[in-house]
Subunit: 248 residues, 2 copies
DNA sequence: TACAATATTATTGTCAACAATTTTTAGGGT
DNA sequence: ACCCTAAAAATTGTTGACAATAATATTGTA
């Protein structure tokens, strides 16, 4: 068991090499991107320490821009910094995931309602096309659940962008979605009930096509609430096993 | 007229002296706080450039920690950074303010509903006491609208904290509320309809006391929506004057 | 005067070294 | 063996200097 714990909480380092530093972008920006994907994809284990000398050597940069990148990660809530101690990759337990889903439910409900008010006919066509495309993908290569995960996010991505609220877009797509990805990786959770989800997606597009903002918001909130319910059930199940957080 | 413009957009510097660097906190943290309040209170004019040598001299620190503070400000959406060019204080036009209010409506609605589900009886008493206290303050020193502004935020602050969702609390209190303050300073907007607002506040507390989550959410959303409506009316009014953004 | 190209200045990005703090290790006492 | 204390190592916080880029001023020309 301690093997697993060590694996999860160890001081894992990302396998990435240094990037060629794309023009128009500073080193701090590139290393921020690299670190973010490293964290979100689980290469930097949750709870593990961010070692500045080690990472600066790995990426071939000095600690100055690295620290700026870390400060940006802090802004995205992907690491937590304690003064004079350093940064650690965030750990998402079920409790925190539920908090995120509560927020997501409210914000994506808003986005979906706005999308229904503002989406053009062409937008609706695009939205429906995206759904059918993903559906076909799933049916053909049934084994690879991977696409379904990303496909699901594509759908939500598009709707949020149709809301026309750029701040909302940034909030969801630049912050919350990364946290969701991280949680999925940490718990290696499969997307449950794909068939049901697709049905719900189509109902949501129906509502948007009909410019029914209230219904669109309601359906999206319900759609996300059902995912949240799965988490809640898991939380209740776990707390039944360990009544007051008693470890082994 | 150019006088006003210069005053608003000039490279104003905050009048703050360097802080004694509270223990347990790094210099980057203190200067982050200083800069944030300087921006929110309008001492650093919206749109003005963040000059690193100038600010580092003013605060008596080097550019390293200053840049980390700036990166944190970027995370709070208080400044915008362009690579190789630098950071500028954000400018909030009505359009952006409306986006914020849309988000705030959804999130505070959520917070209020959760508060209704989770608040203890003592919490409700505290909430009501806060209201009556502010009411008395307003009636006594009617002239000072200042208290009403902050008092209004106090009320919302408390409700958000009662939601029990810490991420929601951080999102609203550490990010959105600062932006609201900034917008109020930028437009020197007075809180409209204080009497009506107090009535709505009491109805909201009523709903929370009765553990009526749906009603509490509805009332809070409506409460914020009416503030948003004022902005929208202003936007329509302005666009009537300058049909397609024609300056003087 | 107006305009374009160039030179100058200022500012940002980056680095390597030093200071301050924390963590780890070693040692001694009970 | 345990725990407390002190030295050593490692890591974070900070600084000043240098390189790269952008903004500004200057000059030349039509």
């Amino acid at each position: 068991m301690s093997l697993i714990v060590d694996n999860i909480r160890g001081e894992a380092a990302p396998t990435e090499a240094l990037l060629p530093a794309a023009t128009g972008s500073t080193r701090a920006d590139s290393v921020f991107d690299s670190l973010r994907t490293a964290i979100v994809q689980g290469e930097l284990a949750p709870g593990s320490k961010i070692n500045e000398p080690q990472l600066s050597k790995l990426y071939g940069i000095s600690r100055g821009p690295l620290r700026e990148a870390i400060r940006r990660l802090e802004g995205c809530k992907l690491v937590e910094i304690k003064a004079n101690v350093g940064a650690r990759v965030i750990e998402l337990d079920i409790q925190k995931a539920i908090e995120i889903y509560e927020i997501r439910e409210a914000l994506e409900g808003l986005a979906c309602g706005l999308a229904a008010e503002r989406a053009s006919t062409a937008d609706c066509v695009q939205l429906r096309a995206l759904l059918t495309r993903h559906e076909a993908q799933i049916e053909s290569e049934d084994g690879k659940r991977y696409y379904q995960k990303e496909g699901d996010l594509d759908f939500h991505y598009l709707i949020v962008s149709l809301s026309g609220n750029t701040r909302l877009f940034n909030l969801l797509c630049d912050e919350l979605y990364h946290l969701l990805r991280l949680y999925r990786v940490q718990t290696s959770s499969q997307p449950s009930r794909p068939a049901q989800a697709f049905k719900e997606h189509h109902r949501i597009v129906d509502a948007i096509e009909e410019r029914d903002a209230m219904l669109a918001e309601l359906l999206m909130r319900r759609h996300i609430a059902s995912a949240k319910a799965t988490l809640l059930a898991q939380l209740d199940h776990d707390s039944e096993l360990n009544p007051i957080g008693v470890g082994s």
